[in-house]
Symmetry: C2
């Protein structure tokens, strides 16, 4: 079969579409004919050899395709359309994945749309529900509303919890997208102090949940914005990791729960349970069109270098998709 | 009736045992004949007028006594022995308390022992179970093991969860007490680096839960000591509140849940639910002697100035009790 490898650890020019060995189907796996793969930041790190050196790795962790070998796993049959996160090898004609992490694709979605779901929606779901325990009609502040996880989080918070969603972004076209997806309050952080906007929008009580991709740069304002008994989830440090002074008494006075999380290093068991629950909770909402994958650009697999360039330059506001099979 | 008031906001010499008005029994309250009250740090702040000025406040928040007016609350009858946290007025012959925060006293315990239970055991229970969600046989690091909350937490973690308990204290006689109460690993923090001891005792994996009364001074070592997916609960800042240079990525890498909490400012509803659950879970263990209130000294109510002096000088390792009725 053919797949995208990095000839040597390095830049985009190292990516080539060449003959590679067929994947080995181990117990626990199913074999998928890949129709679309999505580009993730971890793919760039893998290409650069920053995830530990592997010779000529087949890049990619997110796919949508058709089951061609269910390998005895009762939940799947030859021909089923599935999507999910894989342990590498997604930019290829075939890939294996653990059967307990594969999700059936809602009927109304094509493979490109399906490939845009797993990473951002699973991360947003985990953060909002497994960590922040968002309840019905609570308020939530979602930073980077135009990002992949941001757009997924806005939709889940509205669609599953009828939450009051305040979101920040640095460009009006991104905020317009957030509004389309259901956000209630839109803050351009370049023009306004989001803590003040949160105070106004919540009549001074603050938000129950914060999804924080930004870290140090927003520390003070996030503290001002959170309600008593609020849950503050750290899932990124785009604005720096080091906070110069943290007053622990502040955390006690507001009884804040501050949780750091990463999805990728979690156990297989955790990911399987998360995948199952997410699929159960959201399948129908995707089918009805109440949840929508957000795609920026679809490239042919041969255009992988352009796709990586787009991600490296942060030009996208939705997912970047590689079409593997027409 | 008679009660202890502060003549003026100030020192111990302001405390006098004098005639005061009988308490008013409001709907929701029961009336208790007080047999014993316990001394708490908040009593000193109240005496000093630091909790907001009230003229001649009757001091005290923790009692054990006998119900003399159940005021229609079906759960109680005249003559029941009860204990609990009250909204002031505990150092007196009679006090009212919300019926839904009163707990029946296990039969084997006298009033002095019962008065030593509510504050420290409810705080330890809330911290270990409602916030840190301690599971069976998990590991927990309990700082200030000789303190009131520390001694309660060690017993609850062993008695309810068969947990692996590592505890710190600064004196060998305190550690000996912790050992009596069931602690598995004892660390004199003046002689050893507790983070190293935790590493040795957990074979490098760290503890699942930390009860942190110390704050800034232990920040680095607590971070070293906590396991992946660990829950770290801040309930005091005896070692300073301000931490310099906190790296948020560290919290993400270990997926730490850091929660600040205080019990006193919680809602009446919260305290009522906590009291009920605590009483259900622990009543039998107190009766069997598997949980034991820890008393340092019992004073007569007339010796209240000595009792406050002992607390102010941090001389006690268990509760200080005021005997109101013989």
């Amino acid at each position: 079969m053919k797949g995208i490898i990095a000839k040597e650890p390095g830049g985009r020019d190292q990516l080539v579409y060449v003959d590679v060995p067929d994947p080995v189907v181990n117990p626990g796996d199913i074999l998928i004919e890949v129709h679309a793969a999505a580009v993730n930041r971890t793919d760039i790190l893998n290409r650069e050899g920053k995830l530990g050196y592997v010779k000529n790795p087949v890049i990619g962790i997110e796919v949508a395709g058709i089951v061609v070998d269910a390998n005895g796993h009762g939940g799947f049959s030859h021909g089923d359309r599935v999507m999910g996160l894989v342990n590498g090898g997604a930019y290829a004609e075939y890939v294996t994945m653990p059967a307990n992490r594969a999700m059936k694709i809602p009927e109304n979605l094509d493979f490109n749309a399906a490939a845009a779901i797993p990473e951002v929606f699973l991360t947003a779901y985990q953060t909002l529900y497994w960590i922040a325990k968002l309840s019905k009609q609570e308020s939530v502040l979602i930073h980077a509303g135009g990002s992949g996880v941001g757009t997924a989080a806005i939709q889940l918070a509205k669609g599953l919890s009828d939450a009051f969603v305040i979101t920040t972004a640095g460009a009006d076209n991104k905020l317009a997208k957030c509004k389309d997806l259901g956000a209630d309050v839109l803050v351009n952080y370049k023009e306004k102090d989001f803590a003040q906007e949160v105070e106004n929008a919540t009549e001074g009580s603050g938000v129950s949940v914060i999804l924080d991709f930004v870290g140090a740069q927003y520390w003070k304002q996030n503290y001002q914005s959170i309600a008593i008994d609020g849950r503050w989830v750290l899932i990124g440090v785009l604005g720096g990791s080091t906070v110069e002074k943290v007053k622990l008494m502040d955390l006690m006075m507001k009884r804040i729960q501050l949780t750091g999380t990463l999805l990728t290093p979690r156990s297989d068991q955790y990911k399987a349970e998360l995948t199952r629950e997410f699929s159960d909770e959201t399948y129908e909402l995707f089918e009805k069109g109440e949840l929508k994958p957000v795609i920026d650009t679809i490239y042919a697999i041969e255009e992988v270098q352009k796709a990586h360039e787009m991600m490296e330059k942060n030009k996208n506001t939705g997912k970047i998709i590689l079409k593997v099979k027409s």
